[in-house]
């Protein structure tokens, strides 16, 4: 129990650091931030200027601590300000529209890739030295390909040349989002290629990692002891080797969540998939600071939450974690 509490405190601290960075950075920019933005975009409406000023805290009475407190309160109410590129849309609205797409796509694909990759890794580790090892250099290559590049390749192959999958977007033209079959089937169809991209590139990484951990674990005394006990191979592999090897693998998953999410976001750009990634690139190109920061916060919080869930799973699986002080 104390393990979970310690982790919770840690994530709260991390969230707070993210919030504070978000707050401090714009105020560190030399010169008047508002003016530098205005000079880049001379054609914005005056209301947009006011929105930017509000976000940057210019013209607010009160000390910086007041502003900081106001900022924290805003975030607590999920008020991330007003978008300047999509004025007058609220950042939170835009986020709420885009977030489900990303979570469903990236979440599902990543979990599938992790499970399948780990299973393959268990086999590869157990049969170390055998046929599966010949695939390794290929897997390493696969793992080193940036998500978005792989997306480009797949798109080129399957969408442009072979016309098997759509060229992008989240759903077909002219469809209205809603809970009806037309829309859902179209959405699923459009998500297949992006999901495939994520699964194919990241599976290699999980497999390699699990394989290495398995090899190390198989060398442990308790696996030798399990064999000495004359247990069936299946029991040794799963209950003795894999069940212990899964722990560092899960920890690795927690660490990797940030990477995976980042990679997937960039990949969304290639597919023009209506998720957070696309929103992000639009925000960046149009220098929409409020939106950029809002996206950063949301992504960070999501990743922290995912990490917390992984920690829960680890505690559930590892009896030692429940007992020991987490000295991560």
């Amino acid at each position: 129990m104390s393990f979970i509490i310690r982790r919770l405190v840690f994530y709260v601290v991390a969230a707070w650091v993210a919030l504070t960075i978000n707050f401090i950075i714009p105020r560190l920019v030399p010169g008047n931030a508002v003016e530098s933005i205005m000079s880049k975009f001379p054609n914005l409406q005056p209301a947009a200027y006011r929105a930017i000023e509000a976000m940057l805290g210019v013209g607010h009475p009160g000390s910086i601590w007041h502003q900081y407190w106001a900022y924290l309160v805003d975030v607590a109410h999920l008020n991330f300000g007003t978008s300047s590129s999509e004025y007058p849309a609220q950042v939170s609205t835009l986020l709420a529209e885009a977030l489900p797409w990303t979570i469903v796509l990236v979440g599902t694909a990543t979990v599938i890739a992790f499970l399948v990759g780990t299973a393959l890794g268990i086999v590869a580790g157990w049969r170390h030295g055998g046929g599966l090892d010949r695939v390794l250099p290929g897997l390493m290559f696969l793992q080193a390909i940036p998500y978005f590049f792989f997306a480009l390749i797949l798109l080129e192959l399957f969408a442009v040349k072979l016309h098997v999958f759509p060229l992008g977007q989240g759903y077909g033209e002219g469809l209205i989002p809603g809970w009806h079959w037309d829309f859902i089937s179209s959405a699923v169809y459009h998500s297949l290629l992006p999901a495939l991209t994520i699964v194919l590139t990241s599976i290699a990484g999980w497999m390699l990692q699990m394989r290495n951990v398995m090899i190390t674990t198989i060398g442990e005394d308790y696996v030798v002891a399990a064999q000495a006990k004359g247990l069936a191979n299946r029991r040794v592999v799963f209950t003795y080797a894999a069940r212990n090897a899964i722990l560092p693998q899960l920890q690795g998953f927690g660490l990797a969540i940030g990477f995976v999410v980042s990679g997937a976001l960039v990949m969304e750009i290639v597919f023009s998939y209506p998720g957070i990634g696309l929103l992000l690139v639009n925000a960046v190109t149009s220098n929409d600071y409020a939106l950029t920061q809002g996206i950063f916060l949301v992504i960070t919080f999501t990743v922290l939450l995912a990490n917390l869930i992984v920690d829960f799973i680890i505690v559930f699986v590892d009896p030692r974690a429940r007992a020991r002080e987490a000295t991560r």
Partner: protein, 396 residues
Amino acid sequence: MSADPAADSAVGRADSRALDRATHRAASAAAGPAAGSSLADAGAQSSSPVLDIRDLSIVYRTPAGDVRAVDHVNLALGAGEVVGLAGESGSGKSTLAYGATRLLRAPALVTNGSVIYRGRRVSRPADVLKMRPDELRRLRWREIAIVFQSAMNALNPVLNVRNQLLDAIHAHLKMPRDEARERAASLLDLVGIPRSRLRSYPHELSGGMRQRVMIAMALSADPEIIIMDEPTTALDVVVQRDILAQIVELKDQLGFSILFITHDLSLLLELADRIAVMYAGQFVEIATSDEVHRESAHPYTKGLLNSFPSLRGPRRELVGIPGSPPDLGHPPPGCPFVPRCGYARPGCEDVDMRLLPVATSRDPDHVTACPFVLPDTPAPPAPPVTSGSPAGELGT
């Protein structure tokens, strides 16, 4: 079970040794090491050994060549007998034991020999080295069980004690679940651990308790032979005594044989019926423990016996064995102990390490690998100072 550890240590090792031996002898009644306890002799069990290791050689195949870890060794383990396997680290004793049960991993390779098993439950003698994987699985634990050195490492960290015991039970004995559970609980009773510990995980137990769990687990399928690999090395002396006493008691009660591996020769003098001393992958002396204690024949054994102090008797200077074991990748010709041997002489490089009987011994099966030195050969004046050079240099 020793009732008062404090009293025991006060008495001193030498005395308690005598005490134990007396009780030991009384308990096992009949004569000699080859006879089992009262549970033996169910079938036509004459004095054929339960485990017969013949001419066994094991190497580690590395890119740089073969490392000869075990070199043409012979050892027989009788029913109900306790055989001690003594030697320093790297002598090959663990390799021998694990190799004989085929638990070594690559790059280990058995290059020669046979390991014949003649347990009470098998209808014909069987060569472990020729067994198929499914036969091996049936042999393991049910016939030959192992108590590993470090219980912390040998127990699965994510399973509780009961599940690990049940694993062993279900793998070999067909019994309904509740019977198995009862058996697991009674196994803990046997080693003196409270039943409440069934639900504990390994990291929640103390070192001594973990080792007892290992012993309980080894007994779970009622084996014929238990190989104990330095089971008490990592424990403090008091717990050590307790556990060893318990082992002896269980052995007398259930009738299994023990192959006890340790670097601590003094332990074996108390515990074992026979002792086999190993050096650089070969046996240098095999005799009853009484004889080893009284009049050992091989220079290495003599050196080992001189290396530990006794609690009684006059103070004398501790004499170790200077130098280090030879490089097993390039073994020197003849006797490997030459560079560290006080009795070394020109003929030593031609010794073929065959084990020869010691005529003057009270033990008719007392053998030694040194043809020059006898039990009553006077000790050399001082151990040779091998000028810091590692062994293996002589003659190569």
